[in-house]
């Protein structure tokens, strides 16, 4: 059996398994931990498909920084206690599950019959060649700073706006005199 198939199988099982476990975990901290597991498994699938840089970023930024932020907020608010599993909204749960099943069926159908849709394949060799020369990170950087330079600059604006927004949102009402002056 090919080693790659084994790696894919493991990551498949871990990703799906921890996702499903998220659904049933009562404690928010447990949910966060299962999410970290799923994200690490996803990083594996990225590696399998030649996206080395993204795989690294996935683990460092997502599983690392962002999830720490989540856990921080969970702890800060003191809501690490378990959540009642009784659904107060009538019909919400069956509707969510039913529609979710339909959506999953549709997505899987489209994924497996990809050639019938607009998904065009056939360039697999090209990506391996790029990863050889000039290498994954260089190729990514060239594309990002040439074709996608303008969107890249916009993300900096987005981040600044987000920072300012968070400062406004998170200040305590009444003690943000610096905004009023």
């Amino acid at each position: 059996m090919n080693i790659e198939v084994v790696v894919f199988g493991v990551s498949f099982v871990v990703a799906l398994g921890s996702s499903i476990a998220m659904l049933f975990a009562k404690n928010a901290v447990h949910v966060a931990l299962f999410l970290v597991a799923a994200q690490v498994a996803l990083a594996l699938t990225f590696l399998l498909q030649g996206a080395y840089f993204i795989a690294a970023v996935q683990i460092i930024v997502y599983a690392g920084a962002i999830m720490v932020l989540f856990l921080f907020v969970v702890m800060l608010l003191g809501v690490d206690r378990s959540e009642a599993l009784i659904e107060p909204l009538t019909g919400q749960r069956p509707m969510a599950v039913g529609l979710g099943a339909l959506l999953a069926a549709e997505i899987v159908y489209v994924a497996t019959k990809g050639s019938e849709f607009v998904i065009v394949g056939g360039g697999e060799g090209a990506l391996s060649a790029l990863n050889e020369d000039p290498g994954n990170v260089k190729a990514l950087a060239r594309t990002l700073f040439s074709s996608y330079l303008l969107p890249f600059e916009f993300t900096s604006i987005l981040l600044v706006v987000a920072i300012v927004g968070v400062m406004v949102l998170a200040r305590r009402i009444g003690d943000a005199g610096f905004l009023r002056d």
Partner: protein, 102 residues
């Protein structure tokens, strides 16, 4: 490069996305809902990476990069909103925030 066909990765992404949707609809804790949304974003990232592989270009990976940035900004703002709601209502339950109605 792997010999596993891209359809498998796409199917995995679809399933994870759906789980994210169901979780976001059924859970009530705002932070937990947020985490399911992150799960959905991750599933989408997998789709982009798979497309990048199928196309033989790195454009898909660039998009993943942007998704990461947007997700980071979104998490920061979203969590700030949750914190300020919690300050006011002593609760992170989204069902408690239901004033916008008839």
């Amino acid at each position: 490069m792997t010999s596993v066909p891209p359809e498998y990765f796409l199917a995995l992404a679809g399933l994870m996305f759906t789980i994210g949707v169901v979780g976001a609809l059924t859970r009530r804790n705002a932070i937990v809902i947020f985490m399911f949304i992150e799960l959905m974003l991750n599933a989408v990232n997998l789709v982009f990476v798979t497309f990048s592989r199928m196309q033989g270009t790195v454009d898909g990976q660039v998009v993943v990069f942007f998704v990461l940035v947007v997700a980071a900004a979104e998490v920061v703002v979203g969590l700030a909103i949750i914190v300020s709601i919690f300050r006011r209502r002593r609760s992170a339950n989204v069902d408690d925030v239901n004033l916008l109605k008839w």
